[in-house]
Symmetry: C2
């Protein structure tokens, strides 16, 4: 039988193929991997989940195992809605929340609901590679806008908005962006609001790492300033558990909400209700802020230790941007070197990093690379960075 696939699935997927090959190589137990982005498992509340599950099944087992509604479990949606007050957004209601299979599912949902082939969409450059992959499925004209150390480049953003007034949305990660670990300053935040207000460009705010800030002050969510013009994505993956695949969309425009819901209803009916109820019970019975604070302290120590090691072991000319939270550091090689070369040579020495290439829409053979600190022991961090330092020194020679 001759297989007859769609043109859509046969399109090259640079992001997907690149990262699949990197993660496969980094998966060997002999490799020190800073390439992925796993939460540290010591942060998982295992006994608390067991207690929550017992309670849910004993008190409400039929509901937890039966079909459920597309929007998601009301108690969980109420918790999420209330949480927005910590981000400066008041008046969010449970009905503004749609529970998704991780916030990753939300990316394809917005792609489906908003992108016609050729439509401009604006993204930070670099940006989260799975956002690029998800949007690519709908054949947009992706317009990358440079990320600076304090957020998106506002001059370039203003120019992009002027050149593409028909852009469907702009996708931003204002806190500890993946891959750069950078956050928006208040000044950049305010300028972005000024540029977008009055346009019909939706701001899609992804915020998986905001709760993992261990220094400095976070800006409020763009939803506080932009109202319905801002849709906010969130996830429990970085603060409680990624394995349950529970994220959400906060969408306050009723027409858009209805369309996203009808797509979700067709795509997979609803998100796992058993896990939604267990998670809601966990949140009701435990102090999640205390839990997040423990994770935050753990990651602070790991980030500081990794930055110490980088200052100690990386040769002059290799720079990195200090971070105040999240899970990643972002480093840059001297001119003339490529991160892909560092990746290859590092792997030969048993250390994997993630080259910057798949995070860019168009740039290739870049000098930037991402390293993860959340999921390694201190010994491994020191050993890995020492080896990377030697590899960099060899490359500079």
């Amino acid at each position: 039988m001759q297989l007859r696939l769609s043109q859509a699935i046969l399109k090259p997927d640079f992001q997907g193929e690149f990262t699949a090959s990197i993660l496969a190589a980094a998966a060997s137990p002999d490799i020190i991997s800073f390439a992925g982005g796993l939460p540290n498992p010591v942060s998982f509340p295992i006994p608390e989940m067991e207690a929550a599950t017992k309670k849910v099944l004993e008190q409400n087992g039929v509901t937890a195992l039966q079909y459920s509604s597309t929007a998601g479990w009301p108690a969980l949606r109420r918790w999420i809605a209330k949480r927005y007050e910590t981000m400066g957004v008041y008046g969010v209601e449970a009905d503004d929340i749609i529970v998704t299979n991780g916030s990753q599912q939300a990316l394809a949902m917005f792609g489906m609901a908003m992108i016609d082939p050729g439509d401009p969409v604006l993204v930070e450059d670099p940006t989260y590679l799975v956002a690029l992959q998800s949007f690519h499925m709908f054949n947009p004209n992706v317009i990358p806008v440079t990320m600076n150390a304090d957020g998106i480049d506002c001059e370039k953003l203003a120019a992009a908005v002027k050149a593409h007034p028909d852009a469907k949305f702009i996708y931003v990660i204002p806190n500890f962006q993946n891959p750069t670990g950078l956050s928006y300053s208040q000044q950049v935040h305010d300028k972005v609001v000024e540029i977008l207000k009055g346009t019909d460009i939706l701001l899609l705010e992804d915020n998986p790492y905001r709760e993992l800030r261990f220094a400095g002050t976070a800006t409020d969510s763009f939803g506080a300033d932009l109202g319905e013009q801002c849709c906010m994505l969130g996830t429990f993956s970085k603060i409680v558990t990624p394995g349950m695949r529970i994220g959400w969309i906060c969408v306050r425009n009723q027409e858009l909400r209805a369309k996203l819901m009808s797509y979700k209803a067709t795509a997979d009916l609803h998100t796992n209700i058993f896990s939604q109820m267990v998670l809601a019970q966990y949140l009701e019975d435990n102090d999640v802020d205390a839990h997040i604070e423990k994770t935050r302290q753990l990651y602070k120590q790991k980030a500081e230790w990794m930055m110490d090691c980088m200052r100690r072991y990386l040769p002059a000319g290799v720079s990195f941007t200090p971070t105040e939270g999240g899970m990643f550091l972002w480093a840059t090689l001297p001119e003339g070197l490529t991160a892909v070369d560092l990746y290859r040579r590092g792997l030969e020495r048993g250390v994997a990093i993630c080259p910057g290439d798949p995070f860019y829409e168009t740039e290739r053979n870049v000098r930037t690379f991402r390293i993860n600190y959340s999921n390694s022991s201190d010994e491994i961090i020191e050993k890995g960075i020492r080896i990377l330092g030697e590899v960099c020194a060899d490359m500079i020679k």
Copy 2:
């Protein structure tokens, strides 16, 4: 702000809007609803799930709460692969299985991987309405092929295959089809194999109800005859729990498997691993066949009771097809009447049925309707069918 949605999401969705309005009306607690398709909750293994969860979290909690692989939990995939032996398909391996968010997600995955706009795809007529919705997202040319009492109409199928040799796939539900409750006879099964063999048309077999047979003999899966040309969808929704949203694809063509996996990786990374592991533990520690047998006996009694009531209360001229399993009965009004009218009048009297309309690609104002027997008490079944009989009699007058 002026919302700028995609053409794809603005397309009319007859199936979605029709059923949303019906299910909303039927959701009132005062309504006797035969409109939906919920498993009976007495069939849910609640204490067994609690024991399985405890074991998973205590023995393997970190894995259950961490990110996981796109294909799904190996132990669960091994169980599924082995299960195909009961359907006459030998040699299926765990690596042929991709775990999905309910088998519903698989429909969109095949749409994405195979359909270019305008491509012919063949479906039974009527067929599962969510399959129509999922395929519609990719703008195919849907070719409906009449369902007879013993399966798809083979003469019409042969003609459709001849007229559309470039059809990407044919979607079939060989056991207790939704909505008709009909199954393929061995003769029709063999003839379908004969028609498709040697073509490049993939057969997509959906089989959610096969295990719920309480009389007669099931045909083997089409995968036994067609090999790689047949992809098989399955689900735990009807035999263990729908709330966990765990279904699967059995795909033995390696190229197609890789493409489906890359799409799933972008769409939502992986299916909830916590629930996959709990389910796998449940299957390891319990006799699921004994559990299914209990459900089967329950549904047998309900189906027989509903058929008794229909024979007793429905006026002459209203016919129905007796079933040997599954969850639905399929009935037909006399000429000149419509099922939508029956639905409206029934609702006024407090009884909801599901008119056949959304299950057809093109036919509207049909005389057929679907009624569910799995989820009502005997008293409610008798009361509801008695009222429906009165409504039908009024309509015939």
